[in-house]
Subunit: 364 residues, 2 copies
C-alpha cells in the first residue's frame, strides 16, 4: 500500500525522478508524455510515480504553459433557475473540452461585476463568459478584450462591444406574443420587470438590459403594426423584491383603466404577480391574462397552467461555452451555431378580456 498518512509537501517530478533514478527532465518527459523517452525509463518513471502516488501540480503547469484550462463565468445570480440552467449548459460543454469553470455572482451590480472580471483575469482564466449587468457601461469588458483574453457574452448584449453574444432573440418573440395578446382583444397590456432605472419608463429610454429593451421594443412594434399605441403607463420597471412586485400588480389592476394582461419578465416576478392577483380575488385568465418569460416545469402545474415564452437557455449556455473554447483554442468561429429562438407556449393563462370584442383592426 506504499506510504500512508498525511504528508506536508506534495510529491514533485523531482521526487519521482530521484526514485526512478533518472534526471528530472526525463521524468517530466515520461510523465508529460512528450519528447523522446526510452521504454525502460518510461516504465521506471511511471512505476515510481504510481508508487509515490504522484499528481502533477496544475498550477505550476499553467504557469509556464500560460493555459489554466479554466473559464470564468459571471452571472447575476446562480440561484435563479434561468442561470442555473444556462450554467449547466456551460459546465457540460466545458467539461467535454477539458475545461473547469469558476463561477461568480454579481447580484446584477456593476461594481461586483467589475471586481469579478478583475479577479478572474488575475487568476489567468483562459476566457470569460459574462452576462453583463449593464448593456451600457462596459469599459471593464473592453478591458478584457484589451488584455487579449477571449470574451463571450451571455443572455444579453453590450453596446459598443465587439464580442460574440449568445442571447435569445427577444425582439421577435416579444413582437409575436404581444400580437397574440392584442389579437385576443387586449389593449391594456402591462409589462413588469426588475430592471433598475432612475425614473419611470419613457419610450426609447436607455435600459441596462438589452433583453428588456428588446422586449419593450417588440411590444411597441406589435402595437404599432396594429395601428395602436402601446400604453406606456403600464410598463413597470424597478420591481425589485416580492413586496414591490405585489404592490405594482395591485396598482395595475386598479381603476377603470386597469391592465387586462400582464407580461412578467421572469419566473420570480410571475410568482408574485400571480399571488397578488389571487389575493385581489381576481382570476386568471377570467379577469386578467398572464404571460411569463421562461418555461419552467412548474408552470404546467398552476391553475391554470401558464402561457409562457420558452427560451433555449441550456443551449444558450452550451453554445456560449463552445464558442468561447473555440476562440481560446484559436479555431475559427463555427458557422452559425443553433439559432437561439424563443417560442410561445400557449397554455391556459391567456384569455380574452372581459366583454372584449375580437380583434378589430382600428380598435382601441
Amino acid at each position: 500500500m506504499s506510504t500512508t498518512g498525511s504528508r506536508r509537501r506534495d510529491i514533485t517530478v523531482a521526487d519521482v525522478a530521484k526514485a526512478a533514478n533518472v534526471s528530472k527532465a526525463q521524468a517530466a518527459r515520461a510523465l508529460g508524455n512528450y519528447g523522446a523517452v526510452s521504454d525502460d525509463v518510461r516504465e521506471r518513471v511511471l512505476a515510481a510515480a504510481e508508487e509515490l502516488s504522484y499528481r502533477p501540480n496544475e498550477l505550476a503547469r499553467s504557469m509556464n504553459t500560460g493555459k489554466s484550462n479554466t473559464i470564468g463565468v459571471v452571472v447575476g445570480d446562480i440561484e435563479n433557475p434561468h442561470f442555473g440552467l444556462a450554467m449547466r449548459g456551460i459546465t457540460d460543454a466545458a467539461k467535454r473540452s477539458g475545461y473547469n469553470v469558476i463561477l461568480i455572482n454579481t447580484d446584477e451590480e456593476r461594481a461586483a461585476e467589475v471586481e469579478a472580471v478583475r479577479v478572474l483575469l488575475d487568476k489567468r482564466v483562459d476566457g470569460l463568459i459574462v452576462a453583463p449587468a449593464s448593456s451600457v457601461e462596459s469599459q471593464h469588458l473592453q478591458h478584457v478584450q484589451h488584455s487579449g483574453r477571449p470574451l463571450v457574452l451571455l443572455d444579453r448584449a453590450a453596446h459598443g462591444l465587439d464580442a460574440e453574444t449568445f442571447a435569445v432573440d427577444m425582439a421577435a418573440i416579444s413582437f409575436e406574443s404581444t400580437k397574440y395578446l392584442i389579437e385576443a382583444g387586449h389593449r391594456r397590456i402591462a409589462f413588469v420587470s426588475t430592471v433598475r432605472t432612475d425614473g419611470p419608463y419613457v419610450p426609447g429610454m436607455l435600459l441596462d438590459s438589452s433583453q428588456i429593451s428588446d422586449r419593450l421594443d417588440g411590444i411597441r412594434r406589435a402595437f404599432e403594426e396594429k395601428g395602436l399605441t402601446q400604453p406606456v403607463d403600464l410598463v413597470r420597471l424597478n420591481a425589485g423584491d416580492e413586496e414591490s412586485i405585489r404592490r405594482v400588480t395591485r396598482d395595475l389592476l386598479q381603476g377603470p383603466d386597469a391592465a387586462t394582461a400582464i407580461i412578467a419578465s421572469d419566473g420570480l416576478i410571475a410568482l408574485s404577480v400571480v399571488e397578488a392577483i389571487q389575493e385581489s380575488g381576481l382570476s386568471i385568465p377570467g379577469d386578467v391574462s398572464l404571460l411569463m418569460y421562461d418555461d419552467f416545469p412548474w408552470t404546467r402545474l398552476t391553475t391554470p397552467p401558464l402561457t409562457v415564452i420558452a427560451q433555449p437557455v441550456y443551449d444558450m449556455g452550451k453554445a456560449a461555452a463552445n464558442a468561447l473554447i473555440r476562440q481560446i483554442e484559436g479555431r475559427k468561429p463555427a458557422a452559425g451555431g443553433p439559432a437561439l429562438t424563443a417560442s410561445l407556449i400557449r397554455r391556459g393563462s391567456v384569455g380574452s378580456p372581459k366583454g372584449a370584442k375580437v380583434y378589430s383592426p382600428a380598435g382601441g
Copy 2:
C-alpha cells in the same frame, strides 16, 4: 491613457521594477505591501504599475504561497434548484472571505465524482465541498483527507469518513411528517425517490444516499410508534426520469390497496407525480395527499398549494463554506453553527383519505 492595443505578454513585477528604476525585490515589496519600502520607492513603483496597468499573476502567487484562494464544489446537478440555492450560499460565504469557487457537476455518478475530486486536487484548491453521490463508497474522499486538504460534506453524510458534514436532519422531520400523515388517517403512505438501487426496496437495505436512508428510517419509526407497520411495497426507488415517475405514480394509485398519500423526495419528482395524478383524473387532496421535500416558491402557486418540508438549503451551503474556510485557515471549528433543521409547512395538499376515520391507536 498610456499604452493601448492588445499585448501578447503580461506585465510583470520585473517590468514595473525597470520602469520605476528599482530592483525587482523592491517592486515586489511595494506591490505586495510587505517588507520595508521607502515612501519614495513605493510611490514610484505604484505609479509605474498604474501606468503599465500591472496586474499580479495569481497563478504565480499561488505557486509559492501554496494557497490558491479557491475552493472546489462538487454537486450532482447545479440545474437542480436545491443545489442552485446551496451553491448561492456557498459562493456568498466564499466571496466574503475572499475565495473563489470552481464548480463541477457529477450527475450523481461516482466515476464523475472521483474524477472531479482528482481534478480539483490537481488544481490545488484550498479545500473541497462535496455532496457525495454515494454515502457508501468514499475512498476518493478519504484520499482527499490523506492529501491533507480540508474536506466538508454537503447535503449528505458518508459512512466511515471523519469529515464535517452539513446536512439537514432528515430522520427527525421525516418522523414528524409521517406521524402527521398517519394522524390524518393515512396508512398507505408511499415514498418516491430517484436514488438508484440494484433491486426493489427492502427495509434496512444499504442506500447510496444517507438522506434517503434517514427519511425511510423516519417513516418506519413513525409507523412503529403508532403500533403500525410501514407498507414497504409503497417505497419506490429508481424513479429516474419523468416517464418512470409517472408510471410509478399510476401504479401506486391503482387497485384496492392504492396509496392514499405520496411523499415526493424532491421537487422534480413532485412535478411528475402531480401531473400523473391529474392525468388519472384524481384530485389532491381529495383522492390522494401529497407531501414534497423542499419549499420552492412555486409550491404556493399550485392548486392546492403544496404541503412541503422546508429545508434551510441556503444556510446549509453557507455554513459548509464557512466551516471549510475555517479549516483552511486553521482556525478552530466554530462552536456549533446554526442547527440545520427542516420544518413541515402545512398548506393544502394533505387531507384525510376517503372515508377515513381519524387516528385510532390500534388502527390499520
